[in-house]
Symmetry: D2
Subunit: 383 residues, 4 copies
């Protein structure tokens, strides 16, 4: 099974390479770049160099072109499934070529993340070019849409709109609290209709490989600041996803920050609860509030009990970006504020893995009928 | 004028040393340590070593004891004003000694931060020992209590309850929006009665100098996580302060995080506004919302127009921890979410300066009748 | 095949867990701790928590004791091979127990790294307790001693003295230049008898998990300094190893530094060459010198052409710690100074992998007859 | 006294601004930029924004042009002394204009660092344009050339060739060992004629403000690597300077590295001594060697006893980049290797201060007859 990667020279592309080289069901890779065809991936990423002996079995996956980057069309021609790790607006064209060839396409841009063109064009500044393609696409958040992905796949090649990094971290943290499906394990959680506030911080790899002021070490080390407040393009994606989870429109405030770490997103989600207790002199969390917190934590664990990549953490362990690094896990810890009136969920992912390449491979596994965790089982190091 | 520092061996103590060595009105320092009397501050902090020639004029401020740490009582005896940079529960005793000697005491612990003993004992686990001392004390947030500090000082030596780091960053960011004083420059801001949410991240220096798991480089670099959610002791301090600013009880949710930076706190404050617009497909900030945002930003700037240490940033510049490093500034940027329903203020301070030692020196300047910015005028480097 | 890890709670122990959980030939783990028996490894390292579903196949390797740490003796009893990740002076006892049981022991302390007791006791302050054990031990640098490990293994259970982190990075970089074996591919390199200078910098994980001043984030971030100059215990280990490689006594100067990174050692090795050209006005590397440099680089590549974990980098790519992170590679780049008189080799390893746990697993693979690269094939990410 | 800064938008320029804003003898600044005339320095460096009240006395120094960047010629016209913080090859022109106007020029490029044009053109690829200007120039390392600077200044306006960052850290560490002046306090140090090896690591600010692959956070955090081995342009500058100090040609090997810190250079200098003791089993530093080390350390302290910016550290304290951050100090610690045959000096500076802007201000103080330490007395923080 040959996997193609268009946009292999970017950070998400490189992360796809790393994961797929170790994937037992992928026997070959075809790497493409729009801007750098003809370059060698090992010049761009010397971390992928082989040893002198060159006998690392992973490296044998670089096929006839070896480690040279080819043109996107050649990549599609050589592949059984294709990943597009490209800017918004470029995905539809490659998706079309893939479907025409009869293979599935997993798009890491925003082109296939929205239900309707209106929201997309409002935030991305241009309409879809091929609305019909979107009938064969599905938003690739497996915890929400696993069955839909399988159904669609059963009918032929599909397009996966791989979720954004922030939307993954935020939406997964909201799902157990907002879900209103009959039988959902969240009966102890009563959200109020007020807005969900998602305050998130991302590592610098999220800015991409292009050198810029905001990823210059001297400008971003020892520094934290917000950016694009009220204007980040992941806002409508989160808004649409959590509203779908809730079965109602859920107001959202989303504030992204940039912090001096390489990998990882930590999202802090504030979900207002229906009942409010407020007291200036309240001790830190009464016994009553602690019990309520434990009950909600148990709801979360029950809700996600069959999910292979969600870790609802036990009491006293906080979700932390370092403990999911290079893994596909989404860690979440569940808390109440001192008055018991707001549910606070801390959600941590590796923005390059569960937030991009790892989730894309998870989607590939579903689409191709592999074990969903194949190639994604490595446990993270602490550092 | 001799300044004494009890707790000189800790990070806040060392920061007091750094600032006071450069303070033009302080001619000598007396350094004390409860746990390390007899040790030399230059062994603990070789950054304070003099050059071979020893002719740095600052160093002449180390007096008869030179750079040796003395006992607290000796420090008080030798000083004209005393700083206590010590854990909660230890401040009252030294405050008593200072008042008895007839000199003022600036306390960096939580002992003098609360109006009443009830809140203090609920969160700190023990009551005040000397309630009468608190009649001579004032919460040392100059932007809120400058006049009160001066009034109290006019009547004799005083005790300053120097604010906590998070409360400084959060309260200052809330003040222009919540203040209901007649004539306050905030007529364009209409907060709703809902809870203020303060989501903040602190640098590792906030954990103090004692080595611990949470300040181990390998455990906290490339990592962000929350801690003490619903239980942090700065919660009631913020709650009390912003309620005082508002003239009403303001519900508060406060979530502290730890991030991989040395200095700095960035607080993101969410203040719900009275009017709400919500739309799933809203474009990023309509012109109407942008104008509303600009009006609120102008209110903030007008509100703080006479404050020497508040920088309300122009549009498109976000408050960032690095740009206030080693300075006494509190930078704040003013934003609206994409629906215009929540005011979002980003507030950045250096947790060791405006969040501790710098604000303490600012208070000293007020108490001793110096220019309030004396010794605190250095502009920050970018890195 | 059950692998035991004594000292599982330390960083090297945790790294062994991470690698062995993904090792295809290891079916179970037995974790032991001297100081923390009865604790759960997932409390100490929440990164090893399973997902809600608990279906990560790796986690099934935690055996009857699950993730609880047992006593060392119980670990040895349960295991087919044992790793000791413990301080110097503790390895001999466990080695003895393993040999008595008839299984091999891989020791990550310094106890089995020296040929004679004299050097060990001079630097470690105490003599060997069981000199006879050392007849069954071998210094586990596979690139130097692979055959010796195999020979010894053929005769029964063995003890591996797993090399120190600095000695691995430094010795491997010296080997092609110093080796005098007939037929060695180094005929173009003529070292002078002068001292080899090894200047190295290590990441903070090298200080271990115990919190201390030198691993406090605020003391070691944005900081580089040397430590233990002229006194580091890896000095005699390097000295003995490179002398063995050269077949003569090679004088050594070794200077370790600590830098603000988590993982990695970068060693810069200066090997004086027999011919010296010196000119104040020499241009940066004449064509003649560049050609000489290329020839030496080719010698290095040829020397290591069969080594699976050595990457001799092409011209213009410098060895860098980040590009070997979490991998067992030793990257080296080969340079000449501007006068062509000193060979400069830059050598990068992950101090926790090729410098500790990874090399230990490499040794295990040799001892147990597995493919030498088993469990160690994952290519590193860039970050 | 108005100071002009051409190249104010770069990092060295911004550092000059920071230092000069706090300098008591400088009453005004004129900021110029070749590439960004008309831009506002506070847009480029919001850290220099004033508070709302705008009453920071430092800020009053921004003169008629306020914080707008002017053209270089206008800057020269407005100034009493001018700093050029520009790339190599641009300094001569501005120097000429300054001398013509009758004011001194302090050049931070390499244009005035060499005694002869031959070396400069060999390494920088082009000859001097105005050889006559160099008769009025002096290499501005005050510890070496203080008297020469004063002599030249006595005769009229001068040009200072401000030293490079690496050359400052390395040369100052070599001076006491190599100096052969009669009466020099170094009689206990007997260097051999062998090459001095200088292994140095620099923080990322050394790469300048232009975003590039080598200063991208994700490429350089958690990473150390060498660069330009055998080819760095600071090589001939160091070579010429230490040869002048020694009164003979001193062979040099120089290897620069880049590390994940913002500010600072740590140089490790290896100076071979005339006598060599070598023993494989030597204990870590015999009493004899320790005493020899202490004697050399005392020589260093005596040599620099009148220098205001050199701190020769006591035993057991290692030079560290963090402890000189934002200061003009050069810290050095003195060591012997375990055999006592090589002198190892660790030398730490802030590359932006003593390595650039601070030393430039020190030179300005000498040229203008101010106290040499004016504006440079602030003691560094630990972090």
């Amino acid at each position: 099974m040959i996997a193609g990667i268009i946009g292999a020279a970017g950070y998400a592309g490189a992360e796809l390479i790393r994961i797929l080289l170790a994937h037992p069901n992928i026997t070959g890779l075809s790497l493409a770049s729009v801007s750098k065809p003809g370059e060698n991936i090992t010049s761009l990423y010397p971390n992928f160099l082989g040893p002198v002996k060159g006998n690392n079995p992973s490296l044998a996956k670089f096929g006839t072109a070896g480690t040279l980057l080819v043109a996107p069309e050649d990549c599609i021609a050589a592949s059984d499934i294709v990943f597009g790790a490209l800017p918004a607006g470029t995905g539809e064209g490659y998706a079309k070529l893939c479907l025409e060839k009869g293979i599935s396409y997993i798009d890491l841009s925003a082109d296939f993340r929205f239900d309707g063109c209106e929201t997309y064009s409002a935030w991305y500044g241009k309409p879809w070019q091929h609305p019909d393609l979107h009938l064969r696409s599905v938003y690739g958040l497996p915890e929400l849409n696993r069955n839909r992905i399988k159904e669609l796949t059963a009918a032929g090649p599909v397009i996966i709109g791989n979720p954004g990094c922030y939307p993954t971290a935020v939406s997964l943290a909201c799902y157990p609290a907002l879900c209103q499906n009959p039988g959902a394990a969240n009966t102890c959680i009563k959200p109020s209709p007020g807005p969900v506030i998602a305050d998130a911080i991302s590592g610098v790899s999220g800015t991409g490989r292009e050198p810029a002021r905001n990823n210059h070490f001297s400008e971003c080390s020892d520094a934290v600041s917000a950016y694009k407040v009220g204007a980040h393009r992941h806002t409508p994606e989160i808004n649409e996803t959590i509203s779908k989870m809730a079965g109602r429109f859920v107001p959202l405030v989303f504030t992204p920050h940039l912090g001096p770490l390489n990998r990882g997103i930590l999202a802090t989600i504030y979900i207002p609860l229906a009942t409010t207790t407020e007291s200036l002199t309240a001790k830190p969390q009464s016994k009553e509030i602690s019990e309520k917190e434990a009950a909600i934590r148990n709801c979360y664990a029950a809700f996600y009990k069959d999910e292979p990549f969600i870790r609802v953490l036990p009491e006293n362990i906080y979700a932390a970006t370092n403990r999911v690094r290079q893994s596909n896990y989404c860690d979440m810890s569940v808390h109440l504020d001192h008055t018991g009136s707001v549910l606070i969920v801390e959600s941590a992912i590796d923005n390059m893995v569960k937030g991009a390449a790892g989730q894309a491979v998870q989607n590939m596994n579903i689409v191709l009928g592999f074990n969903e965790t194949e190639g994604l089982n490595a446990l993270p190091a602490l550092f």
